[in-house]
Each structure stands twice: as structure tokens, then as C-alpha cells.
Amino acid sequence: MVFQIEASRVTRKFDGLLALNQVSATAESSKITAIVGVNGSGKTTLLKLLAGLDAPNEGTIRIGTKNATADDLRSHCTMVFQKSIMLGGKVYDNIAYGLRVNRVTRREIPERVKSALAFVNLSGFEKRKARKLSSGEQQRVALARALALDRAVLLIDEPTANLDPANSAIIEQSIREAARSRVVVLTTHNLAQARRMSRSVVHLYQGSVVEQEETARFFARPRDERTRLFINGELQF
């Protein structure tokens, strides 16, 4: 059964400035949806709305067919940030934290931590101090921490920004595997990455959706002139 999260005519203003304007977009399970756009186009704002970390001024967000409250969104979604935030302590503590606050049983936690770390190729890292890891490893821990919760929707903000190719490849592979059983929405301004990873692309420009299209078609035959300029690296912002 296809599970989906949908933003419907969502508007978000900050001090009167429109960050998102009547944005509608859909993401479905078992395929990766990439939100692309130039810096400041509203990608992260949209992701935060989907995560229930912020509320729209207008519009609704639906999970399945139901209008979702912020609590609904937070219980269905988890988010990985562009800058990985590590809690103090060990890698184990970082991943176990989310499990503890979600009342996963003490017996179950070590096993879930272990499999989450294995998922991102960091088996055996449980006792390492999280803040001493490289930025690539920290990003993989952040991904493992989100995956350990086993939420239906995984939101990822610029997953490989500033990472080396080896870590980027591992993260991309982990995200692909994670997407088999859940909705994955990622933001990126790396068009090659969007092309490689996603099945659907949402192009945001100045807070509005220019187009949402299947990835192959988006790159081969963009419907909007702004998308064509964006793909060619010629879009002014």
C-alpha cells in the first residue's frame, strides 16, 4: 500500500516575508522525492513544516488522507539536518536517546542501535565519542539515529553537503535502502544527486513550486523555463 505525505497550498511567512507561497507537493513511500532549488528558495522551510517543527500560516499537510497536526507530523516523521548535531556522550547514547524518549524497551534498544549503525556502515562505533567523529561519520550517525526510530517518513536536509565522496556514497546508499519501506524526502541543490537518487523532483523557486515531475522527465523535458535555466545553472536568484 502506498503511503504518502502531502503539502497542500502551504504558505509560510516570516515577519511579513513570504518564505513559501501556496506550495503543494506530494511524496510517496518506496521512492525518494528530491526538493531542489537555489539557496533561499524555501527547501528547508518546507522540510521543517513537513517535520512538524514549524506550522504553516495557511494550507494543510496531510499524512495519508488525514490532515495532520504538528504532533501527528512529529510522530510520523523524523528529520536529519544538514549540519549534524551530536549530543554529548557516545554514539550509542545518541542513537538510544530517541528510542528512550519513544519508550522503546530497554531490552530492545541495544539491538536497534546495533542494526541502525550497521545500516550506515558504522558497526562497532557504539562506544566512540560522537563529537570526536569526522563530519562524514557524524552525518552517518545522524542518519542512523533517525532510522532507528523506524518512522514512516524520513526528511533529510542536504544529506551530503560538504562531505567527501566516500561518505557521500555510503549515505546515498543508506538512504536508497531506507526508502524501500518509507517515504523519503530530501532537499539538495546538487542536481547530480537529485538525478541519481530520486524518482520525483520538486523544484522550488522563491518560495513557490515551479514544477513537480518524475525525475527522468524533469531533467529531460522541463516544462518550465525556470527549471530549464536552473538545470543549466543559469537561473538568477
Binding site: G89, Y97, V101
Partner: protein, 161 residues
């Protein structure tokens, strides 16, 4: 308030707590309670200032992260406190050291009464005035030993955590 001269604080509290003062009714002067009151007033700004700095230095995104992981409002606040725990511990340690090694308030409010309000610092001052330098040095070594040991314990605990 952090740098308030302890003698000045001791004097004002003395005037407050003395029999003819506004709080003379409680008869606290020259009791351990007077010293406790004075030391609390002395260290509160230190704890508040250091602990606030420690809490403010926690990455604000930690709260956001905790929320995305399913933490409730209280759990989110608690995770910030946990992140600042060593800063708060340092605030408490600094406050303890300030109170423990302080002389003015203890002398003026406690009166340095033997077996009642005599502290290490007031004992050192008294013995020095009496010319018992060797005893003063011995007491000061104990004072320094306690202060340095506590600092060492906190520092080691922080490194191993």
C-alpha cells in the same frame, strides 16, 4: 554582583541582622545560619551567571533535534540541561570555592566563635593574628587541598564522561 566585596556584603548583612536592625527579631547574628544566609547571597550571582552562560552555549538546534526524535517539551528542556551539565557543575564548583574560601562574611556574621561559627578561613585569620604561623599554614594547606581536590575530581569526571 559577582565581584561584590565580601566585607561590604558582610557589613550590610550585619546591619540587617543585628539586634537593632530590621531583621534583628530572628536573632541570626553570630549563628551558623547567618553565615549560611550570607554565603547564599554571595554565591547566587555566581551560580546564576555561570549556569546561564552554560545553558546559553548549548547549540539551539539541540532542542530542534530532540523534538524531531520525539521528545516532549520537558524532555527537550532536560536534554539542553544535560548538554550543559558540566557548565552547571563548574558553576556550582566556583560557587562552593568562593563560599568555602571566603572570610569577610563569615567573620562579620559568624563572629568566629569557637565550636560554633569558626571556619577554616576565620581560624587561619585568628591564628595568624595570634602569631601561630605554623598552624595557619597547616590550616591553609587543608583549605587549598580541599579546593584543589574538588576541582581535580570535577575535571577528571568531565574528561572521562
Amino acid at each position: 554582583m559577582i565581584g561584590i566585596p565580601t566585607v561590604a556584603l558582610g557589613l550590610y548583612l550585619y546591619l540587617l541582622l543585628s539586634k537593632s536592625g530590621p531583621m534583628g527579631y530572628f536573632q541570626l547574628l553570630y549563628t551558623p545560619y547567618a553565615i549560611i544566609v550570607g554565603q547564599c547571597i554571595l554565591v547566587t550571582p555566581i551560580i546564576v551567571s555561570f549556569a546561564t552562560s552554560a545553558l546559553e552555549s548549548v547549540d539551539p538546534e539541540v532542542k530542534t533535534l530532540a523534538r524531531t526524535l520525539g521528545a516532549s517539551g520537558m524532555q527537550t528542556d532536560f536534554v539542553v540541561l544535560r548538554e550543559a551539565v558540566w557548565g552547571v557543575a563548574l558553576a556550582i564548583l566556583a560557587a562552593f570555592n568562593r563560599a568555602f574560601a571566603e572570610l569577610g562574611v563569615a567573620m562579620m556574621l559568624g563572629g568566629n566563635i569557637r565550636n560554633v561559627t569558626r571556619l577554616l578561613t576565620t581560624a587561619i585569620a585568628l591564628q595568624t593574628a595570634m602569631g601561630e604561623i605554623a598552624l595557619s599554614i597547616a590550616l591553609s594547606i587543608i583549605l587549598l587541598g580541599i579546593v584543589l581536590s574538588l576541582s581535580l575530581v570535577v575535571s577528571l569526571a568531565r574528561r572521562t564522561s
